[in-house]
């Protein structure tokens, strides 16, 4: 029992790290652009299909397909911003919520027609790694390494590059940044794109774990929201930490009860945190 618990916990933690990446994207978009991206799940789902088809058509290793999919996510985000979000970025929240929601509908609706709701999966036989009394599937380890790489990359971008400084300036005070000559429109679009890039990266990694359908994006989007709320809206490290927490929860719950309770527990946690700790466990920013 203990070893089962340990195995589930470790598995959950590692998967949670990947969830955290998706959540980081969501929280980055909130922190910089100040909107909730309801198309996040669609990007996650499309990334899964992206990796699948790249592997199918070119036979390349899924991990090598990942950077391409991530860049696709960046481009998609930029385009979504310019087409749908730009006009409502300063409007009341209702407008931007519905705008990104509409984008979600368009993406999922079209994708459902193309891909149907059948499950797809990427077969990846990588074996496992023995670590004491648990055997960790290699997919989790590779994904964690990639996730760490992504996090480091994001940190370097935000804190060690000129662009990153501009992003932080716009996040801090958009008007002041503009007055200082920073092209806020482009920075906002870029930030949105980076957020969706993270979503795409996460989606690609999740595709190496589980089978997926076009509707999976919705579930992962909800997980992202739960994590973001746990970690504090606007707090990227909090999102990572929140991902770990959620991952462990997802790993542990099925050991004790039926796995179908997981979404209910996640949602319950979501509401409770929103009510009790609106700034998340780690503190966010309004």
């Amino acid at each position: 029992m203990l070893s089962q618990l340990a195995a589930s916990l470790v598995d959950g933690l590692l998967i949670g790290f990947v969830y955290g990446i998706a959540a980081m994207g969501l929280t980055l978009i909130w922190g910089v652009v100040r909107i909730i991206n309801l198309a996040h799940g669609a990007v996650i789902a499309l990334a899964m299909f992206g990796v699948y088809y790249l592997v199918l058509w070119t036979g390349v290793n899924p991990y090598l397909a990942l950077p391409l999919v991530a860049i696709g996510g960046l481009a998609a985000g930029y385009v979504i911003y310019v087409l749908a979000v730009r006009r409502v970025v300063n409007a009341p929240p209702l407008a931007s919520l519905l705008a990104t929601f509409a984008v979600n509908m368009i993406l999922i609706g079209t994708a459902t027609t193309v891909f149907t709701t059948s499950p797809y999966s990427i077969t990846l036989e990588l074996g496992g790694v023995d670590a004491g009394f648990v055997t960790i599937p290699a997919t989790r380890i590779v994904a964690t390494v990639v996730a760490i790489g992504v996090t480091v990359g994001l940190y370097l971008l935000l804190y060690r590059s000129g662009v990153g400084r501009q992003i932080r300036a716009v996040a801090n005070n958009r008007d002041a940044a503009e007055l200082m000559g920073i092209p806020s429109g482009r920075i906002l679009a870029l930030s949105f794109g980076i957020g969706t890039m993270l979503a795409a990266a996460a989606g690609g990694l999740i595709a190496t774990f589980f089978p997926f359908t076009i509707l999976s994006g919705e579930a992962y989007q909800l997980k992202s929201f739960v994590i973001v709320v746990l970690g504090g809206l606007g707090n990227p490290l909090g999102a990572l930490a929140g991902g770990l927490i959620l991952g462990s929860l997802e790993g542990l719950v099925p050991v004790f009860t039926s796995a179908s309770w997981v979404p209910v527990i996640e949602f319950g946690l979501f509401v409770v945190i929103l009510l009790v700790l609106p700034n998340g466990v780690f503190g966010g920013r309004e």
Binding site: I36, A99, M105, I106, T110, P263, F267, V271, L274, L275
Partner: protein, 331 residues
């Protein structure tokens, strides 16, 4: 005091904005009655249902500005409770329908007491999950039939004089409910309570400072917007003959109702009526023309996006802005 209330009602009835939506609904409703056609009856039943759902949602979404993505939860829960009362408890239809409405209202009250204190985006996120949680719960809830739901014994229609009579009864009940929804929508909009709701929508913090009791006002608005969908749910599934979780808590319908409200013009009485009627026609047309059948969600998304970006106040809102003279009648 009765005289005061009577004056208020008279003033409300004199408001020209009340009549276009009412007349439109009555006219639509009269068509099947006039022609006696069963196909028209079924088609207009659905149309009226959407008008009622959109008008109800508007009382919350349009007047307070809070986005409720999972509004269909009231339809589903009400439907289930009423269906249960009808089939298991053997209650008469009217009572079962009221039970559905009450259940929906109670759920709204619970949401109001807990989740409504969250603002804008947070609240919207929460509603995304409420519908899903309710569906998951009902799917596991034995008395409601679990994942396979419940169905009714068709002998129940005999008590109405046969299936055709039952269907006509359901139809006229739906028409009545739609009229009630429109009346409620108009009454709230023209009331002091409604003014408070609009102030919350425009700037909740400023409204609080001016003395608007926002927490209770929002909850009341949610309850008012939930009750009719609850009753409609019972009616719909009574006609349907059975009820299952995915049909009762269909997220897509929830989304489409939002599109209808936004298309017609949120915050107006006529808007949801026009939006629902227009969207429902578009939808029916698309469903019968092959390439578009599976693109329903996509098209709804495109419609919604175009509205948000270019005519955020919907068709009626746009008309009101363009033709100020019509502002009195188009409300």
């Amino acid at each position: 005091m009765i005289r005061g209330a009577a004056l208020e009602v008279a003033r409300w009835l004199r408001n020209p904005g009340l009549w276009p939506p009412l007349i439109l609904v009555a006219a639509l409703g009269a068509i099947p009655a006039a022609t006696g056609s069963a196909t028209l009856r079924e088609g207009i039943f659905l149309l009226l249902m959407y008008v009622a759902l959109a008008s109800s949602l508007n009382i919350f979404l349009g007047y307070t500005g809070y986005v409720s993505f999972g509004h269909i939860v009231f339809f589903g829960l009400g439907g289930y409770v009423g269906f249960y009362a009808l089939t298991v408890l053997g209650w008469p239809l009217a009572l079962a329908a009221i039970a559905g409405g009450v259940a929906a209202g109670l759920l709204a009250l619970a949401i109001g007491a807990s989740v409504l204190r969250l603002r804008g985006a947070y609240f919207a996120l929460a509603t995304l999950g409420i519908n899903e949680a309710m569906r998951a719960f009902v799917s596991n809830f034995g008395p409601f039939g679990g994942p396979t739901g419940m169905s009714l014994d068709f002998s129940i229609y005999r008590s109405f004089g046969g299936p055709t009579e039952a269907l006509w009864l359901a139809y006229f009940s739906m028409l009545a409910l739609t009229i009630v929804a429109v009346l409620m929508s108009s009454a709230v909009k023209g009331s002091r309570f409604g003014l408070g709701l609009f102030s919350i929508r425009e700037d909740e913090d400023a409204a609080l400072v001016m003395g608007v009791r926002a927490p209770s006002a929002k909850t009341i608005a949610l309850v008012l917007s939930a009750v009719i969908p609850g009753v409609i749910g019972v009616l719909f599934f009574f006609k349907n003959g059975n009820i299952e979780p995915p049909d009762a808590f269909k997220l897509q319908t929830s989304i489409e109702i939002i599109v209808m409200v936004m298309l017609g013009g949120f915050g107006t009485v006529l808007g949801p009526v026009v939006g629902a009627a227009g969207y429902e026609r578009l939808r029916s047309f698309l469903l019968t023309s092959d390439p578009f059948k599976s693109l329903q969600l996509t098209i709804a998304g495109v419609v919604l996006l175009l509205i948000i970006l270019f005519i955020p106040n919907g068709v009626i809102g746009w008309l009101r802005a363009r033709v100020p003279r019509l502002r009195g009648t188009l409300q």
